[in-house]
């Protein structure tokens, strides 16, 4: 016993250069402390990579395998340029929501940074991926890598069969719709490589037959429907454009439907990440901070290690004020870290204010509260639930109302007694994807007429679509094969035709 303690008094060596043995030693200690805190994680797989490989990973949206597309090349060039000129450091780490959880460590990092990254990614993010309801519901960590391999091989096969050009154009169109190609409320089926492979061909044939059925026009029927009220299609507006196109676009070939599906699945996979930035980054930051500090308290880390660690940590959680030139909005690391710290404080040392605002939470077991919060919230609800007046005061939060009909901006609420609830409400809405991104729906298909597709933008607070909308509409038209219209439904009930993209691509044209 005493021997063990004696051993712990000896700090781990902290040279600048890392070695595999040291990484293993640090990992073992971090793992032990994480278990003591009860973090539940996927097994970890740590991969050492070069900066170039890090840029590779960056540009293929952080995934270890991905299909080929020029846009990834563009993003690589962009990253490379920034990195070469020293305008931008690379992220120290990339972590992949998979089972086992893959964490990339960059070769250039010092030993301290590697330890920080292991704690941050392999324990912080990892446990979040495993526990948070969005990730549990929407992603399938066991199958993602397999699915991406399947996708890449499938696309390579398509390129060989139908030509790179053809596939590229299709991917362009799909990418344009990626962020309106997610199910927000419906749970997608689990991914599995073997299932995908065996079912893919069946599905292709089946889908095609369905589509053919949908578009079959028998002369006798046509005469009859003149009198009957036109059948509405889709019966209800659809929010998932890519899904709708995959299932219903009249002229797509089976392989094209499969490609649409692949892009849709990948988009869906990243959907939870976009909704849990503050929580997820804050959680990971909180845990690297806590785990490393615990190790330091145990005497396992040297002072020089801690100095370097704290230096990096403070950089990560730096939050500039609105008036500073480098202000880029709220730093999710800073806000998230502060909120998780604050939750623990409320649990352990609540003030009267906390007791008033968080009666259930004040004085509760912080580990249980953490677990509950981590599992059951996303940014929007997390902020609505847990943003305390203290944080609002610390960050000196204030809300600005920008109405383009008014000449001036208005400060609608600040961090004071009267404003706490308002600020919190606005901030929560700022993180709500539903109000941040335009609400678009597949409204109608003219089944009996020119087969045109009508999309409807439900305007919210008079926010218009951006200038690229007509470009995107061209992509929709390319996929749909017939005319596509974009309408705006204003809040006062007016419907206005915004863009129209005419297209008539019959099968005959293609041959």
């Amino acid at each position: 016993m005493s021997a063990k303690r004696q051993k712990r008094r000896h700090p781990l060596p902290a040279p600048g250069e890392w070695t595999f043995e040291l990484i293993e030693a640090y990992h073992a200690e971090i793992d032990r402390v994480a278990r003591e805190y009860g973090l539940d994680t996927y097994p970890t797989q740590i991969e050492l990579i070069t900066s170039e490989q890090m840029m590779d990973a960056y540009s293929s949206v952080g995934m270890p395998v991905n299909y080929h597309h020029w846009s990834f090349g563009k993003s690589f060039l962009h990253t490379e340029k920034g990195y070469r000129r020293g305008q931008m450091g690379l992220a120290y780490e990339i972590v992949i929501n998979s089972n086992p959880c893959i964490a990339y460590l960059m070769e250039e990092n010092t030993m301290t940074m590697q330890a920080l990254v292991i704690a941050h990614a392999a324990y912080g993010h990892n446990s979040f991926f495993k526990g948070n309801y969005l990730f549990k519901q929407w992603t399938n960590a066991d199958a993602i890598i397999d699915y991406l391999i399947f996708a890449r091989n499938y696309l390579t096969e398509c390129e060989e069969r139908y030509g790179e050009e053809e596939v590229e154009l299709l991917l362009d169109s799909c990418h344009a719709l990626m962020n309106v190609g997610v199910d927000r409320y419906k749970r997608p089926a689990k991914l599995s490589l073997s299932k995908e492979l065996t079912r893919q061909r069946e599905r292709a044939e089946y889908l095609q037959s369905q589509v053919n059925d949908l578009w079959r026009t028998l002369p006798a029927q046509q005469v009859k429907t003149q009198t009957v009220e036109a059948r509405r299609f889709p019966p209800e507006p659809q929010e998932n454009l890519l899904y709708f196109i995959e299932k219903n676009a009249p002229l797509l070939e089976p392989w094209q439907r499969e490609v649409v599906r692949i892009v849709r699945k990948v988009g869906q996979y990243f959907f939870p990440q976009r909704q849990t930035q503050v929580m997820n980054e804050g959680w990971a930051t909180y845990w690297h901070y806590t785990l490393i500090n615990t190790l330091y308290d145990e005497g396992l880390l040297t002072d020089s290690f801690m100095m370097e660690f704290l230096h990096s940590h403070t950089n990560v959680v730096y939050q500039p004020a609105y008036s500073e030139p480098w202000y880029r909005g709220l730093n999710p690391y800073a806000l998230g870290f502060a909120m998780w710290q604050d939750i623990r404080r409320i649990c352990e040392n609540p003030t009267d204010e906390d007791r008033y605002w968080f009666p259930d939470m004040a004085g509760s077991n912080w580990r249980e509260t953490f677990d509950f919060a981590m599992r059951n919230f996303k940014d929007e609800s997390f902020i609505a639930q847990f943003l305390s007046p203290k944080i609002m005061r610390d960050f000196r939060l204030f809300a600005i109302l920008d109405d383009d009909k008014e000449a001036k901006l208005k400060v609608s609420a600040i961090h004071d007694e009267a404003g706490y609830r308002k600020v919190r409400e606005i901030m929560s809405d700022n993180y709500n994807l539903g109000s941040r991104e335009p609400n678009l729906q597949v409204w109608n298909v003219d089944l009996r007429g020119d087969r045109s597709l009508t999309l409807r933008h439900q305007a919210y607070l008079r926010r218009p679509l951006n200038g690229e909308a007509d470009e995107v509409l061209k992509h929709v038209a390319r996929l749909w094969g017939f005319a596509v219209r974009m309408e705006v439904a204003h809040e006062d009930g007016r419907i206005e035709l915004l863009h129209e993209c005419r297209q008539d691509r019959r099968r005959a044209d293609k041959d």
Binding site: L48, H69, L330, D404, V411, R463
Partner: protein, 422 residues
């Protein structure tokens, strides 16, 4: 249990495919950007890559987002002066403070052009991807004009002038040692015997005399070995190695008469630059001869060629005469690949054009690898064009093209040097 995997050594350049796709996709924009860049460079500055910028608009991957306008309510940090209900002026340009409207366009790249660097190789490849110098293959494979004499060890025969003294004497020494060694051995033995004998016997002992005789004979035999023999001679060996011709001369001939306006000159300039660029790809050393002409021709430097102003009538043959003279005087020793490029608006003095054709056919075309004529004129071909047309079929190393304006220049360049199928 943790798995630590070292991936540093596998699959480098995973993104190379994506980079290539990117380049292919934006080939046209990259080409334009490169062509633009050239006009800003000096004709000799070709050793660098180029930073290419592509309009962000072309590169955009459009998505549905909110645009500016409508009502936005956003939370900011670091309140230092506001209280609830304050009215603030809109920040101009949405810059400082970041309190501009909307936040939909927070995607880093903004409106700036997308800039990236082409390596020198990529830069040049953009031009030359499917081009090849006409007749180049012939030049390299068949018409090797020059040989270089190069040392290649030693041989046993040759001319006395090439005798290698050191090698020859070293051989002679060896031969002498080898041939004399049996006698030397015997000689040493006899001398030992003689010395031993002299200790005990008087010098006139018959045995001593016999030994002395024998030693004398041996010495004579050793002496008789020739100091040097024809067998010893070594000659420096030299072989002739074909030396590839790596230099070219490029004649730029331009009409600077009154009818050539600045636009036409600019077009011609591009053409010459591109030709020069193309030649640098193939030849180590290039000389450029600039000849401009109106009614008389003059050899000038690059600066004057493109920038000084002249006016007057046009006698094209004056320039061709001058090219012929310079060609014969300086560049016909077999070491030069000669290229000619002529730019004109085709408006020549009527009686001169047939003369030009004859000059080209008889005095110039037989000596040049390639001669290209471009006629820069917006309308109908002029009289020079009609004369040159007669040359077109008969001489495979002659090409002519009609250019209307700046945008035509690049396609024309490709047309001129299009890979010719053997």
């Amino acid at each position: 249990m943790v798995r630590i995997i070292d991936r540093r050594f596998d699959s480098r350049n995973k993104s190379a495919v994506n980079r290539q796709r990117f380049m292919r996709r934006f080939k046209n924009q990259i080409r334009e950007a490169v062509a633009d860049a050239i006009s800003g460079r000096s004709i000799k500055d070709l050793d660098n890559g180029e930073s290419v910028s592509i309009p962000a608009k072309d590169l955009s991957e459009p998505q549905f987002h909110h645009g500016r306008g409508g009502i936005w309510e956003t939370v900011f940090t670091g309140n230092d002066q506001f209280s609830s209900g304050d009215l603030i002026n809109r920040p101009q340009g949405g810059g400082a403070g970041g309190t501009g409207k909307g936040k939909a366009s927070n995607e880093g790249e903004g409106e700036d052009d997308f800039v990236f660097n082409l390596s020198r190789e990529e830069f040049l490849d953009v031009f030359f991807d499917d081009l090849a110098l006409p007749n180049l293959v012939k030049t390299q494979l068949a018409r090797i004009h020059e040989y270089k004499s190069q040392r290649a060890g030693f041989t046993n025969d040759g001319t006395p002038a090439n005798i290698n003294v050191v090698r020859s004497l070293r051989g002679a020494l060896g031969r002498r040692l080898a041939l004399a060694s049996p006698y030397q051995g015997r000689l040493r033995e006899l001398q030992k015997e003689l010395e031993a004998l002299l200790e005990t016997s008087p010098p006139d002992d018959p045995e001593v005399l016999r030994l002395k005789d024998e030693i004398g004979i041996l010495r004579a035999k050793i002496e008789a070995i020739p100091f040097i023999d024809t067998f010893d001679l070594r000659y420096n060996n030299r072989v002739k190695v074909p030396k590839p011709t790596t230099q070219a001369v490029m004649f730029c001939i331009m009409d600077v008469s009154g009818s050539m306006d600045e636009d036409k000159k600019a077009t011609a300039k591009r053409f010459f630059m591109l030709l020069y660029l193309f030649l640098t790809r193939t030849y180590e050393h290039i000389e450029v001869v600039f000849i401009r002409h109106h009614t008389v021709a003059k050899e000038v430097n690059e600066e004057d060629f493109f920038h000084s102003r002249e006016s007057g009538g046009t006698v094209v043959s004056s320039a061709l005469e001058m090219m012929k003279d310079i060609l014969h005087a300086r560049y016909l020793n077999g070491a030069w690949n000669v290229y000619g490029a002529q730019a004109s608006d085709g408006d020549n003095w009527e009686n001169d054009s047939p003369h030009c054709r004859e000059l080209l056919a008889n005095a110039i075309l037989p000596f040049v690898q390639y001669f290209a004529y471009i006629e820069i004129t917006p309308g109908e071909p002029q009289n020079l064009w009609r004369e040159y047309e007669k040359l077109n079929g008969a001489h495979p190393n002659f090409a002519m093209q009609h250019i209307e304006g700046l945008p035509d220049i690049y396609p024309v360049f490709r047309e001129l040097f299009k890979k010719k199928l053997a």
